[in-house]
């Protein structure tokens, strides 16, 4: 009978608090992850929105090609007009 009471005491005073403490730690860690994950998701979506202008690079590419072609034509004319050093 005494051993049973000792077992009860262990369960109530040691095992139950330990279980509650450990599970509470796990739950607190999991809940701390949630806002971080939401921030990551928001940052990813904002980054994706920022990249909506990427197709404009094609326009930049075309403009660069035209500009270099114009510079090449202008340089070719200068090469004919201006004497070499």
């Amino acid at each position: 009978m005494t051993l049973e009471w000792i077992g009860d005491a262990l369960l109530l005073l040691v095992v139950l608090p330990a279980v509650v403490y450990l599970l509470h730690g796990v739950l607190r860690a999991a809940r701390n992850i949630v806002p971080s994950v939401r921030q990551i998701a928001g940052a990813a979506q904002a980054g994706s929105r920022d990249l909506d202008a990427v197709p404009l690079l094609l326009t930049t590419q075309d403009q660069v090609i035209k500009t270099v072609e114009t510079a090449a034509n202008y340089g070719g004319s200068l090469d004919v007009i201006v004497d070499d050093a």
Partner: protein, 197 residues
């Protein structure tokens, strides 16, 4: 049932209840994490999809710009000479000459002549703006002063009747000047030009 058995059952029930409460709460938190990660993965996927062509496009832009730099550097050095080219760059962009011209490694060691002090600041500013050049059509400083599509109009205005061909009467020659020139121009006191004697 003895009292110790009842207490043990109560203790076990309490432990199981604590397990259930905390594990269910943890499961709910993990589900929220999963939903957040799904949103993040979707956003990252969009980023990957949108940035896929960037490398190729930027590479093409860089290749074209490299060709333009090679062209302009070569033309500048060909026409002005390496030393004066460095001096001109130094006059326009004082901090840029330290790196030298990309295709002319010797340019980094050349002491730049002070072209910026010889020519007026306005001349160099005009050269920097480049508004006389057709390339300035895309310049943020404003539209080009000269229409690149009709750039030869001003030159053709010099010979409205057509350029003189070989065998045509030659144009008057430039006057010979100097103390032994056939036509002497006496010096005037007010410094104005005088007629031939």
């Amino acid at each position: 049932m003895p009292a110790a058995g009842v207490v043990m059952i109560v203790a076990v029930v309490l432990i199981v209840a604590a397990l259930v409460v905390y594990l269910v709460s943890t499961i709910l938190a993990l589900r929220q994490i999963t939903e957040g990660l799904d949103e993040a993965i979707a956003g990252v996927g969009e980023i990957i999809e949108k940035t896929a062509p960037v490398g190729e496009v930027v590479g093409t832009i860089n290749r074209n710009l490299d060709a333009g730099v090679d062209l302009l550097e070569g033309l500048l050095v060909k026409k002005a000479g390496l030393e004066d080219a460095v001096g001109l760059i130094d006059g326009l962009y004082p901090d840029a000459v330290g790196a030298g011209l990309r295709n002319f490694p010797d340019s980094a060691t050349i002491r730049a002549p002070r072209i910026g002090e010889v020519y007026t600041k306005g001349t160099l500013t005009l050269a920097r703006l480049g508004r006389e050049a057709p390339i300035a059509a895309a310049s943020p400083a404003g539209p080009a002063l000269r229409d690149p599509g009709y750039g030869s109009r001003a030159a053709r205005a010099l010979y409205p009747e057509g350029r003189p061909v070989q065998g045509a009467p030659s144009l008057p020659r430039s006057p010979v000047i100097g103390s032994d020139s056939p036509v002497q121009y006496p010096e005037r006191g007010d410094g104005a030009d005088a007629g031939a004697v």
